[in-house]
């Protein structure tokens, strides 16, 4: 496999995005996008087969820029991690693209939708294949852009536009961390390439202190801020549930299976830095707290997609636990892969359900879906079982691996994870009872979706059930997991929380009048533990305070300048009126002129033109002159 072939994997969807940007025909755009992604998927499978058997390889592409002695070379890395991610992204993406042709068929901007989806796929594939932290960051931002555009796809809805903006800004807050981490790494080591034959960022010791902290610790901390923003870890999780304003295929692809997992992938990709920096316990605990909080909030939600969104946040937390508690990135990534399939399935199932229910998303107005939509229901239940980690589904294997790792590493965290797993089983059962059981509570009769939507569901269902059992062991081994002993308490806990949670949910909700208030949807849970309100009161306040301060400064300086200008004008006026006008004009120039003028007027009187008068003056003058001469001589 050559560098250019590998580069085609992200470039084909990019080309599709460019081609579909100007298209109006939705069907044609969908064909282009699906064709491009299908080819990418084939290439990714080929790459996977190479990575499966061969060694990790680095493919340099081109110099992006070179300044002084610094060269920034974009290169791709092909190893088990990147090849598996690329295969997963293209395969799940392909199914979701196909599903979208049905879901978005009646949207007038269908072509634009596929353009944005292709842009997303290109960014995501660039992100996973990149061997350069800068290229990874750049793709990371493109993915964020696509997410922003797709969340706000129905731009006429103010809530969708606001959710897109919120998602972009909250993740950008995390991205600043990532950018700073990148800058620290760059200024400390002079390179941003992850692997470069021994000279890469992950291969050498970044060593020196910055801000009194070891560079590896600092870089890994800052990278984790970026990862937490993208992967919706507490406290930066607030954007993800709002992102459900986007079309459902978007939620499935971006906000469940792939993009939100990018943070987890980033930690796995730069795992050596986290190990060297000793930041793994922080990663694990952030994940654990996130898993618990999100699972709690999910219990209090009534929107079918929001329940899944909080579930995603919770599962992402569990992946972080898997990364932080283990000695390799394999376990967290394993849960990422299984989760991608079953959560994409659940979201697409939810999309199919709300499509069949005339765009209803409130589970209180559903019910009886099982009879009306049998295929969707069967597929959805497969996904739900995997999410619950019902024994021998794919979710069971991967969650079990996480629990084994954390059992050995940190016992309190283990109990935390076990409890949130119990909550997971509970809220899943609650949701399924609300949606599928009993009689339909909505206004319109639900109907099954077309085959173009149900076939991808069935394919994903097969993966959700079987993937763990079939490929789990090999997958973990390829990702570098070390086989660990399977302590009995962990197995017992796994079974107990999954089955116990389901049983508990069944006891509470079956046979209950679902129109009555929900006993578990407590007010704090319904209000999402007031995170949004808390941020509005603190960070929002601070932000408006800063803005007000800046405006105040601006106005003060403007007033000062005004004052100076007024003063200058006043001085000018003083000079023009008083000094110029009075002193110079009136006294000096005009005054002198007036004196001359008056003197002249006086002189004029003597020149009367009257001869006797002149003679009189002559006589007088001669007399006076004679007297003067006499006085002089004597």
């Amino acid at each position: 496999m050559s560098a250019s072939t590998l580069a085609l994997i992200p470039c084909l969807p990019l080309l599709a995005a460019l081609c579909t940007a100007g298209m109006r025909n939705g069907r044609r755009a969908a064909a282009v996008a699906i064709g491009a992604l299908a080819m990418s998927a084939l290439l990714a499978l080929w790459a996977l087969s190479q990575a499966w058997t061969g060694d990790a390889q680095v493919f340099p592409l081109a110099d992006w820029l070179s300044v002084g002695g610094t060269r920034i070379t974009f290169s791709l890395r092909l190893d088990a991690l990147s090849a598996l991610m690329a295969s997963m992204v293209t395969f799940v993406g392909l199914l979701i693209f196909i599903f979208s042709t049905g879901y978005m068929a009646h949207d007038p901007r269908c072509a634009r939708f596929f353009c944005y989806l292709s842009l997303f796929a290109a960014g995501m594939l660039g992100l996973v294949l990149s061997n350069n932290l800068l290229l990874l960051f750049m793709s990371w931002e493109i993915v964020g852009l696509a997410s922003y555009l797709l969340i706000g796809f129905w731009f006429h809805k103010p809530s969708a536009a606001a959710a897109g903006k919120k998602a972009f800004i909250v993740t950008r807050l995390g991205d600043l961390g990532l950018l700073l981490g990148l800058l620290v790494a760059f200024t400390q080591t002079g390179t941003l390439e992850l692997y470069a034959g021994g000279a890469g960022l992950l291969e050498k010791d970044p060593g020196t202190l910055v801000w009194g902290v070891g560079a590896a610790k600092l870089v890994s901390l800052l990278l984790f801020v970026g990862a937490a923003g993208k992967s919706g870890q507490v406290p930066l999780h607030v954007w993800l549930p709002d992102a459900m304003e986007g079309p459902t295929p978007v939620s499935a692809l971006i906000h469940a299976a792939t993009m939100v997992a990018a943070g987890v992938f980033l930690v796995a990709r730069t795992f050596p830095l986290f190990e060297a920096g000793g930041t793994l316990p922080l990663v694990a605990w952030t994940g654990g707290v996130t898993a618990l909080i999100a699972a709690l909030i999910a219990l209090g939600q009534f929107d079918i997609k929001r329940i899944l969104a909080y579930s995603t946040v919770s599962q992402l937390g569990l992946m972080m636990v898997g990364l932080g508690a283990a000695t390799t990135g394999a376990i967290g990534m394993y849960h990422l892969f299984t989760h991608a399939y079953f959560k994409a399935l659940l979201f697409l199932g939810a999309g199919s359900i709300s499509h069949g229910c005339h765009h209803e998303q409130d589970i209180r107005k559903m019910g009886g879906i099982a009879r009306a939509m049998p295929v969707t229901t069967a597929a959805y239940l497969c996904g739900a079982l995997a999410l619950v980690a019902f024994p021998y589904t794919s979710g069971y294997f991967s969650k079990d691996a996480v629990l084994v790792a954390v059992y050995g590493a940190d016992r309190p965290l283990f109990y935390l994870c076990a409890f949130s797993s119990l909550l997971t089983a509970l809220y899943v059962t609650r949701q399924c009872v609300y949606v599928f059981a009993g009689a339909h509570r909505g206004a319109h009769a639900p109907h099954e979706s077309p085959a173009v939507m149900t076939v991808p569901l069935v394919i994903l269902a097969v993966f959700a059930l079987g993937m763990g059992g079939l490929f789990g062991g090999a997958l973990q081994a390829k990702l570098g997991a070390i086989h660990a002993a399977h302590p009995f308490p962990v197995i017992a806990t796994s079974w107990a929380v999954a089955l116990g949670g389901m049983l508990l949910g069944w006891v509470i909700y079956s046979g209950r009048d679902l129109r009555a208030p929900d006993p578990l949807a407590l007010v704090p849970l319904q209000r999402k533990l007031w995170f949004d309100e808390l941020y509005a009161a603190t960070a929002g306040r601070l932000w408006s305070g800063l803005t007000a301060l800046a405006v105040l400064l601006q106005e003060m300086v403007a007033a000062l300048a005004e004052l100076v200008q007024e003063l200058a004008q006043a001085t000018g006026q003083f000079f023009s009126r008083s000094v110029d006008g009075r002193l110079i004009d009136q006294l000096a120039v005009d005054g002198l002129a007036r004196r001359f003028h008056e003197g002249g007027r006086a002189a004029v009187r003597f020149q009367s033109g009257f001869l006797p008068g002149y003679l009189r003056w002559v006589v007088l003058g001669t007399l006076l002159g004679g007297l003067f001469v006499h006085w002089l001589l004597t």
């Binding site: 992006w64 820029l65 070179s66 750049m138 493109i142 103010p158 969708a160 200008q565």
Partner: protein, 479 residues
Amino acid sequence: MITVLTFAPALAALLILLLPSHWARRVAVVGAMVSLVITCCLLSQFDPRGGLQFAEKVAWMPSLKVDYHVGLDGANALVLLLATLLSLLAILASPGSLPRGYFALISLQACGMFGAFTALNFFHWFLFWELALVPAFFLIKLFGQGEDRHRAALSFFLFTVLGSVAMLLGFLFLSGGGRESFDFIELAARARSGALDPGGWVFAAVLAGLLVKVPLAPLHLWQAPAYAAAPAPVAMLLTGVMSKMGVYGLLRLIIPLFPRQLAAHGETLMVLALLTILWGAFVALRQTQLRRLLAFSSLNHVAYCVLAVGAVGLAIPGGVVDVPRLATQGVILQMFAHGLTAAGLFYLTGLIEQRAGRSGLADFGGLSAAAPRLAAMFYILAFASLGLPFLAGFAAEFLIFGGAFAVAPTLTAVATIGLLATAVVLLTVLQRLFTGPTPAQGGSLPDLTGEEVLLLAPVLALVLWAGLAPGHWLAFSAH
């Protein structure tokens, strides 16, 4: 050739006054086009390793050691391309119904800018610098919009003239009353060898003159009113090119001639730049008028350049990364990138205002539905402006932040808040203008015509090109 490209617009201005008035726009276009074509020819022959090229040097006033000396090197190649391109686009963006005085003035302004970017002798550099200023004053005062334009023009003129006076005095001291040469290249060589050691006050005076033009807070008060009052094409030039004259001055004068003072005061400069970055971004958040908002956002973006110039001063030889190179290259690319995106945004804003007859942020909504092409262009430029990778701004900001972080990590870390605030500002603009339900009254805005798209096409092409392959553009200034 450089002389020809500089004076082509001036000749056009003269012809405009002589020829019938319905020829005015065409003559102005031809004048600017000649400059652009010559610039492109020169750049295609430009050898990045060749140092100063296409130089013309004629003795002018030997007694004062004043020569007419122009040339192209790494520092001004890209910004000259920017100036000639944007001048042409600004003239093309001006409706032909304007009187010929307008076209004569805008051509003169172009001449002043080209001269200021190519001059290598302080004497005529300063003449061109002022020549660019005077037509801008009249363009704002005579052809601007709103009652505020007289005040805005006056304020613009006073601030920049005061700055120029400071700079002129500084240079007279620097030249020691004619003992030193006025030639930038010679002065730089003498400064390198340590023979030239101007005092701190000279540095301060020259710096102040340049910073007014950049502008840096708190010398920026003229900016928002001037950008808001100027006719849209003139606003394109003010933000796209004129603000770069100040930054270019920092590259041409401050870094080569005052290395010791820059090292001593680099930190102050960086703090001032940081203040401006945050100031611009946060004040922009509260603006209700689109043009003023973009003006403050512009204030924020250009201040990144000053941050980098400060970092050059603080650089210590022998670090892991080559800070002076990174920072200077970042400045050069940032000038190019910001010039393109800001000019594009001001152009689109002008079109929106002209079509709707309103300019408040709250006056619009749902424009994506009414004018999809306009929306697409505005989105691309706005994202370029907030530093999206693979668009022009990102590479420049990466280089600037890379350079600045190596010498002042804490300060640079705080400056990244500016990136966040810029994102908030621009996304709010997009949200207000283009999303939401279409308002019942005045919601239907005609979309961009083919001609308007064509006018923006080179800007978009360069924004993408400089984002995808910044190495190609940085090669001009690599040595």
